[in-house]
């Protein structure tokens, strides 16, 4: 949940979801540390990173959860997207299966995520144009139909990586509920629990 801090600063929980090998960790690493590794280890767990960005007149401190894409850990995902303010669903444009999985993630988020969740769909590995299996239009039209923010990225070339996060930061304040007095509490998630129960029963 994006929690407004004193005077309009946001602290926002952001989760990355997507198929194993889609490039979630690579995107985060590029964004946070400006690094890229050809041999990025598969994530077994959920990496936690923070990064602050400034847009308009607010700073947004992202608390990023980079989840494991391996199917066997799927059941653990709700723990991370629950209470998140934003999600980046990542697929690999050279892998049709990963696009299908991305769509499943979007569906799951729409069903069980926070109703104000800002979802970005990122078609990663845009640098591998020759191996492309998922056309830009496919991603775009799926995003349009589902009200997602869509962008093709490359963690390798850094193309559009910051853009994803900045665009989310821009969308957050609008998506975030009007700050309530208790909204100042960084730990406001707990309090919103009863509200969300309605949409996480399925």
């Amino acid at each position: 949940m994006a929690t407004p801090g004193a005077g309009g600063n946001l602290q926002a929980k952001l989760v990355l979801l997507g198929d194993m090998g889609a490039g979630k960790s690579s995107l985060v690493l590029r964004f946070v540390k400006g690094q890229f590794f050809d041999y990025q280890e598969s994530t077994i767990g959920a990496a936690f990173l923070t990064q602050t960005v400034a847009v308009n007149d607010v700073t947004v401190k992202f608390e990023i959860w980079d989840t494991a894409g391996q199917e066997r850990y799927h059941s653990l995902a709700p723990m991370y997207y629950r209470g998140a303010a934003a999600a980046i669903v990542v697929y690999d444009i050279t892998n049709t299966e990963s696009f299908t999985r991305a769509k499943n993630w979007v569906r799951e988020l729409q069903r069980q995520g926070n109703p104000n969740l800002v979802i970005a769909l990122a078609g990663n590995k845009a640098d591998l144009a020759s191996k492309r299996k998922v056309e830009t239009e496919e991603g775009q039209s799926y995003a349009d139909e589902n009200g997602l923010f869509f962008i093709e990225t490359s963690a390798k070339s850094a193309q559009n990586v910051n853009e994803v996060f900045y665009e989310i930061a821009r969308k957050l304040p609008k998506a975030a509920p009007a700050p309530q007095p208790q909204g100042l509490n960084l730990n406001a998630q707990g309090r919103t629990q009863p509200k969300r129960s309605c949409c996480s029963t399925s």
Partner: protein, 962 residues
């Protein structure tokens, strides 16, 4: 695990609150810095609106610097551009101190102060300083200050100090002069600065203007276009507002009601004669020493004291008495106004004015930089009579110009050419230095605004310091005649004192290349005491009483000299300085903030614990029912720079931290940086912890995921796997009975195939459940084998030994047959293993062990022996139930259990009959059986358990008595 999806539960992510968390670990300064960058960003918007914005004034002017004029209607007839007017102008132009602005300023001057050079440029400025002991005189008609102020070469800032601006008599020292003299002098300065025709200016200010333009470019919306018709109009309007300056100043002053009254209807100047502070509270007790001494809160000469109410009354009376003076004043100001109206550009505004008895200082700045002057404060220190009165002392002004702090100290020190007087003067300087204190609001303190002289970036000290030349009179006069300044300077007391580190250590003074400024016969160029000595004239050795010193990295003196104004007995001294101010460059500031944010993020990342696990999958190997696996190590490596706190957490966030069949020790703990901690993982499967049939369904694969949460460092998943070796324990009777092979070979396919429906049993016998058929179909071979073992005659002893410990059969004494395993659990496990593999029981297996295994088997059955409803009925009325026991049980038996029940009861009856003489009691058996039949719930309630046991005993007794 899927279940967690449905739970209306918010993940335990908030457990990690990085901000708080990092607060513990971050160096404090970094945390502060980080907070600063957060806060400042919010203030950044304001950067662009730095000035020129209509101020929401209400409630926003609580800082001392803005305690001036605000919000009263324009007042007719008061036209004096007094110090207060300047103050009011300055106030009205002052950027509003909104919380945001304030915050921004705090951050810039606070946390970011050390980094100032990274986001500022310097702006070149000039300061003109003049000091004049005017000998108690008012400006004579026709006096021009052009030379003194060097108006041909305009400076950006003028600091003019006077001494003896009023004659130093008892009246002025104790009460004051109504500020009238100062007003006249200021009016003259104003006239000189403001009315000086622009076309007469030399190019000196051009560079300045360019610099200004440059600056304006950097602060979008920062300034009004200079010189356009609009700005002039705005200026005029502004001017109108300014007129009420003094009055409002009075009004704002806490507890200054009387003062405000006085000022109304008059032009308001002078009623705070002794205390004309632009920044201070009139009559407010909050001013510094000078105030007190000047208004007489200190002891008076005659030992009485004047309280402030009296003082105001006195002032009021005096004021009316001096009506003619006021008229004159009005005329002067009327003229000046006319000149302003006639198009003379008002290019300077006064930002400060302060008087204490005869010492007076006022500061004027070019209009263009006025808005960058803030937090003006003044302080007065009396070091005169009794060490506190204001006949000698200082008045000082502190101000913030852009990001640089300036301090101007104007002093009049102890006079006299007697031996030791110079030490007294030096003592005055340290006293003034010690006692000068600029009162700061909390907000200003947070901006690190200086409170003492020493804390300022740039300091200038001017005044009649009264130091003499330590040479015989004749020698001085001789040298003066020869203009041999060098000889004289060598013996100048100030220089001598400085060299001896008695005063102004580390302060600088320019080269003195002008004649001593004291003491002249007024109106002439003749030093007092020069031949021919006039009537009654004292011999006074010429001296450089009037001096200007400075201290500050940005100060360079350009000129040091005197002006040939013959009004009094001193010649004024003037000094021109080049200086610089640090000016914020918004782009640089933004870049710095971005950098700081990035650094804060990086620091935060680096302060997070980083751990890795090995292995990532823990293999536990074969897992037998009821037997704990050997613990496997799981290593937590702390690869980061900080201590890591870890805990295993539930997938869903609220359940137990690991699956019930796993034992993880420890479940939480800490690992120091660079260290490795070993956690042990083992499994123990039983029907309470695992649905064993489900495991067999998954082809005996036992799998669990442990979530290790490193506080602030993310989560790690650890898979734990094991291979279940199927056992007869924990399976439903129907499944078990239908499988004729040893259970170890049971597969998922078998499990699916074999009957799990009680109905089948019934259908198989055309609806009539005969005991034989039921028995044959539902008594698992394992039970038969166990009973068989028990029933063997040589095992009677075993049964006996079991019976000696009522209710705790499984944990008897060591077996008489030494071949059996020492540990009853292990012995039992061995029996179970034999049953599951079809092997013979281990040699020497005792009846006790077999019986314990039997009860353990029964307890592990997933379904109860008797139906729930019958159990409830029995428990509801034990008395009746006991009478009807046999019937009730027959009704209540789950059909698939029927056969086994019968066999058990028959066997037990047989055992009891056989073992009766050896002491095997039905009581002991009943106790065990009761737990099987009724389950373990409620066994702690003594009464209930007793009743249950009695009920079961009844059943057994019924059999044995047959």
């Amino acid at each position: 695990m899927r279940v967690s999806l449905r739970k209306p539960h918010i993940a335990g992510i908030t457990v990690l609150k990085p901000i708080e968390h990092q607060g513990n670990r971050w160096p404090k300064r970094q945390a502060r810095m980080f907070a600063a960058t957060q806060e400042i960003f919010r203030a950044q918007q304001y950067l662009r609106k730095w000035v020129g914005k209509a101020a929401p004034q209400a409630g926003s002017n609580d800082s001392p610097s803005s305690r001036g004029a605000l919000g009263s209607p324009k007042k007719e007839g008061t036209t004096s551009p007094t110090s207060a007017e300047a103050q009011s102008r300055w106030d009205n132009d002052q950027e509003e101190e909104s919380p945001r602005t304030l915050l921004r300023r705090k951050v810039i001057r606070g946390e970011l102060r050390e980094l100032r050079s990274e986001f500022t440029d310097t702006l070149d400025l000039s300061i003109h300083v003049a000091t004049w002991n005017v000998n108690g005189r008012r400006p004579p008609d026709g006096l021009e200050l052009d030379e003194l102020l060097d108006v041909e070469n305009p400076a950006d800032i003028y600091v003019v100090g006077f001494q003896e601006i009023v004659p130093l008599n008892a009246n002025s020292v104790l009460i004051g002069d109504m500020g009238e003299a100062a007003a006249r002098w200021e009016a003259l300065i104003h006239e000189t600065l403001v009315a000086y025709p622009a076309d007469k200016e030399s190019g000196g200010m051009e560079a300045q203007k360019n610099a200004d333009e440059k600056l304006r470019g950097q602060e979008p919306g920062g300034d009004l276009p200079e010189g356009g018709p609009d700005s002039e109009a705005a200026d005029d309007a502004q001017r109108g507002d300014d007129e009420r300056g003094v009055e409002n100043e009075e009004k704002k002053g806490g507890g200054a009601k009387a003062g405000a009254e006085i000022s109304r209807g008059e032009d308001g100047r002078g009623n705070d004669a002794a205390e004309r502070s632009s920044g201070g509270l009139p009559n407010g007790g909050s001013e510094t020493g000078g105030t007190e001494s000047a208004v007489g809160t200190g002891p008076e000469a005659d030992g009485t004291s004047v309280d402030s109410t009296d003082l105001i009354e006195t002032l009021e009376a005096d004021w009316h008495a001096d009506a003619s003076a006021k008229e004159k004043l009005d005329r002067v100001e009327g003229e000046r106004d006319l000149r302003a109206a006639n198009g003379a550009t008002r290019r300077y505004v006064q930002v400060a004015s302060k008087q204490m008895v005869g010492v007076h200082v006022c500061v004027w700045v070019r209009k263009e930089i006025r808005k960058h002057v803030r937090s003006v404060q003044t302080s007065a220190v009396g070091v005169g009579l009794l060490g506190v009165l204001g006949n000698k002392g200082s008045v000082s002004v502190s101000l913030l110009l852009h990001e640089s702090t300036l301090c101007f100290v104007c002093s009049h020190l102890t006079s006299g050419d007697a031996e030791g007087d110079e030490s007294r003067r030096s003592g005055d300087v340290s006293e003034i230095t010690r006692r000068t204190y600029f009162t700061r609001s909390l907000a200003e303190q947070q901006q690190n605004l200086p409170a003492t002289i020493g804390e300022h970036d740039q300091r200038i000290w001017l005044g009649d310091l009264n130091y003499r030349i330590a040479l015989p009179d004749e020698e001085v006069r001789e040298a003066v005649k020869k203009q041999d300044w060098e000889t004289l300077v060598e013996s100048d007391q100030l220089r001598l004192e400085q060299n001896a580190k008695q005063v102004f250590v580390d302060w600088q003074e320019g080269k003195i290349d002008f004649a001593p400024t004291y003491k002249y016969c007024p109106g002439t160029d003749r030093y007092v005491g020069t031949d021919p000595i006039a009537e009654g004239e004292k011999r006074r050795t010429p001296a450089w009483c009037d001096r200007v010193l400075w201290k500050g990295d940005y100060l360079t003196q350009l000129k040091y000299g005197r002006a040939e104004l013959r009004t009094g007995d001193h010649r004024p001294v003037k000094a021109r300085f080049a200086t610089k101010a640090d000016v914020i460059v918004p782009e640089k500031l933004e870049a710095l903030l971005a950098k700081l944010r990035a650094k804060a993020d990086a620091d935060e990342m680096n302060s997070r614990p980083v751990c890795s696990l090995s292995p990532q999958i823990v293999h536990l190997g074969d897992i037998r029912y009821g037997v704990p696996t050997p613990p496997q190590p799981l290593q937590i490596h702390n690869n980061g720079a900080v201590r890591a706190e870890f805990a295993f957490v539930d997938v869903g966030g609220s359940g137990p931290p690991c699956p019930p069949w796993l034992t993880v020790t420890p479940l939480k703990g800490e690992v120091a940086a660079g260290e490795v901690l070993e956690v042990s993982v083992s499994a123990r499967v039983d029907s309470a912890s695992v649905d064993v049939e489900a495991v067999i369904e998954r082809e005996n694969a036992l799998e669990g995921i442990l979530v290790l949460r490193v506080h602030g460092g993310g989560d790690h998943f650890v898979s734990v796997t094991g291979n279940y070796l199927p056992s007869s324990w924990g399976l439903r009777l129907t499944k078990l009975a239908a499988f004729s092979e040893p259970v170890r070979g049971l597969t998922r396919v078998d499990l699916g195939r074999v009957g799990d429906n009680d109905g089948e049993v019934k259908n198989a016998v055309t609806g009539q459940v005969s005991k034989e058929v039921a028995m044959g179909q539902t008594v698992p071979k394992e039970v038969i084998r166990l009973l068989d073992h028990l029933m063997q005659p040589e095992q009677a002893g075993g049964a006996d030994s079991m019976a000696t410990k009522d209710g705790d059969a499984a944990k008897g004494r060591s077996p008489e047959n030494g071949e059996e395993a020492e540990d009853p659990e292990a012995a039992q496990a061995a029996v179970r293993e034999s049953l599951d593999t079809g092997a013979d029981f281990p040699p020497g297996t005792s009846g006790r062990t077999a019986l314990a295994a039997l009860f353990s088997f029964l307890a592990a059955l997933p379904e109860p022996l008797l139906s729930k409803s019958i159990l409830t009925a029995i428990e509801a009325d034990f008395a009746t139930a006991k009478r009807e026991a046999v019937v009730l049980v027959e009704q209540g038996l789950v059909p698939s259990h029927y056969g086994m029940y019968e066999l058990l009861m028959t066997s037990f009856a047989e055992l009891l009959n056989r073992g009766a003489e050896k002491g095997l009691s039905s009581q002991a058996l009943a106790s065990e059986l009761a737990d099987v039949i009724f389950g373990r719930s409620g066994v702690k309630e003594d009464k209930r358990r007793k009743q249950r046991v009695q009920f079961v005993k009844q059943l057994l007794d019924d059999r044995t008595n047959l």
